[in-house]
Assembly symmetry: none
Homo-oligomer: 309 residues x 2
């Protein structure tokens, strides 16, 4: 019988207790999930930084700390953590992101908003162009960006990927570097920002780069709030140069009630829902890693402490 | 030299004359496109029901009537029409339909409307389920229905197809007959109606079949207005049993200004834009069929009079 300590918030417990137990049973693991245990009896720790647990030293028998979160920046530097640490890589997170990006791309492509809100009962059968006539730029070609680019390309959108360093073999035309960014933006009617947050990517969309986009271009940001210079975006929206921005992430979340994004007629706010870890699939990932640990197989998504992720 | 009679409205002529002539030249057809000709000299008729031409009997030499429209219900019952009749199957029409259906499916799946119109600035980060948890029923598995079903399945939606007669080899689980319809509706959270309009398909969604759907189900109708009993749909929307209906086609178009669909909070009207025939690609289809006729090959998309489509 394995002892699995659940070290995360009450809200996490409410969400994860049943799915984790279900996933353990499904994987044939003989494991007890508990919120309190003698540290020396604990075999695995399911962890989120919302937990008060900060000293991992007493957990001498613990074979791995399994993070509920994809980002481990709040735990990876903890000097008491000597056990293997695994990030959450939830396949559902990629699926959810693809659904949000494809859905909002099609929303803007089809011009849905004028039908969803149409108090004057206007019947204007002007057809939108076909997707094959609507170029999309995907800024960021990591796991999420690439999955979104492929889904859009499958719907005939001409997608150009962009990443800071060259990226090949993706099946999507891909530019890189500063010159490549400028080239990608000049023709894009829809721009999706899915870059990681680093000092180099902050304000990737700023007054200068926004000006490169054609008149009426649409911005979708499901990545990180800091990728966009908010003031520059508002100015470009006010000027009518940018047609619309649909934003899922912000520098401060929840987005403050007095932020101009809430009331701007060309901005749609979605409340950081583009990609969420889902308890059932995340629980299956954790169960799979415990099973691997017990079978002596290497853990999946193990954090490399020298890189920090 | 072939004589091709263009029998459709002035607006159609303005849109199609140049693309058709271009397509004839591209296909190497020695053909004259005209709006007036001695009936006995006409080799082919390009037709839309907007034309005054109703008596096909004098066109004794005509080898085929090539419809500009996908739906042929306004011509198929004409007793003077003894020539082969071909429906328009425009690849651009299929693409446009797939974009409308996938876009509005994702819109409802993601619950976009509450973010697009959010005057109270509500930040509610409740995530939608994943597409894989959102069953879709595709009523009608012809060329358009099948293309939409495949695009939705590629985004992980569990799609169940339904057609009046059995359909196999599509790669999509497919039910048929009345019992199959009831089975498809019982679990569908989103229903797409893409059936042809025939006496058998009128009011496919009526009080009885709508009642089979789970609470909150969403209806998308890009097919034909007559597929749905409007009064039964309004009653089911008022009762809250149906969560929303997004309708692109109506029994009378443009939808009359006093129709309750315009103001119902659970209805979105789109102005018959889901699938528009695009002149350049439709003209290539017509040229290809004339070329086949001249080569003695069977026509593409020939209407089966016994089925009515």
């Amino acid at each position: 019988m394995l002892t699995v300590l659940f070290a995360a918030s009450d809200a996490n417990w409410a969400e994860y207790a049943a799915p984790l137990r279900h996933a353990f049973a499904e994987s044939g693991l003989d494991a007890t999930l508990t919120r309190e245990a003698d540290p020396q009896a604990v075999d695995y720790i399911v962890y989120a930084p919302s937990s008060p647990l900060q000293d991992f030293a007493p957990y001498t028998r613990c074979k791995a700390v399994l993070s509920l979160w994809a980002g481990v920046e709040r735990i990876v530097g903890n000097p008491t953590l000597t056990q293997p640490l695994c990030r959450m890589v939830d396949p559902a997170l990629t699926e959810g992101m693809v659904e949000w990006v494809v859905g909002h791309t099609l929303r803007h492509h089809l011009g849905m908003d004028r039908h969803i809100v149409n108090p004057s009962r206007l019947w204007d059968p002007t057809c939108p162009p076909l997707a094959r006539e609507r170029p999309v730029a995907m800024l960021g070609m990591g796991e999420l960006g690439l999955a979104c680019a492929r889904a859009l390309a499958a719907l005939n959108f001409p997608v150009t990927g962009w990443s800071r360093t060259p990226k090949q073999g993706t099946g999507i035309p891909c530019l890189h570097g500063q010159a490549g960014l400028e080239q990608a933006l000049r023709t894009a009617q829809i721009v999706v920002t899915l870059l990681p947050k680093t000092p180099d990517t902050e304000n990737t969309l700023n007054a200068r780069s926004l000006a490169l986009l054609p008149q009426g271009a649409v911005i979708l940001n499901p990545g990180r709030g800091a990728l966009i210079d908010d003031e520059a975006l508002l100015a470009a929206l006010d000027a009518g140069h940018i047609g619309h921005a649909t934003l899922d992430v912000f520098r401060t979340e929840p987005l403050p009630q007095d932020h101009p994004f809430w009331t701007h007629p060309r901005v749609t706010v979605t409340p950081h829902i583009a990609a969420d870890t889902r308890a059932p699939s995340a629980s299956r990932v954790i169960a799979a890693n415990i099973r691997r640990g017990e079978a002596g197989e290497p853990f999946l998504n193990r954090v490399d402490r020298t890189r920090g992720y």
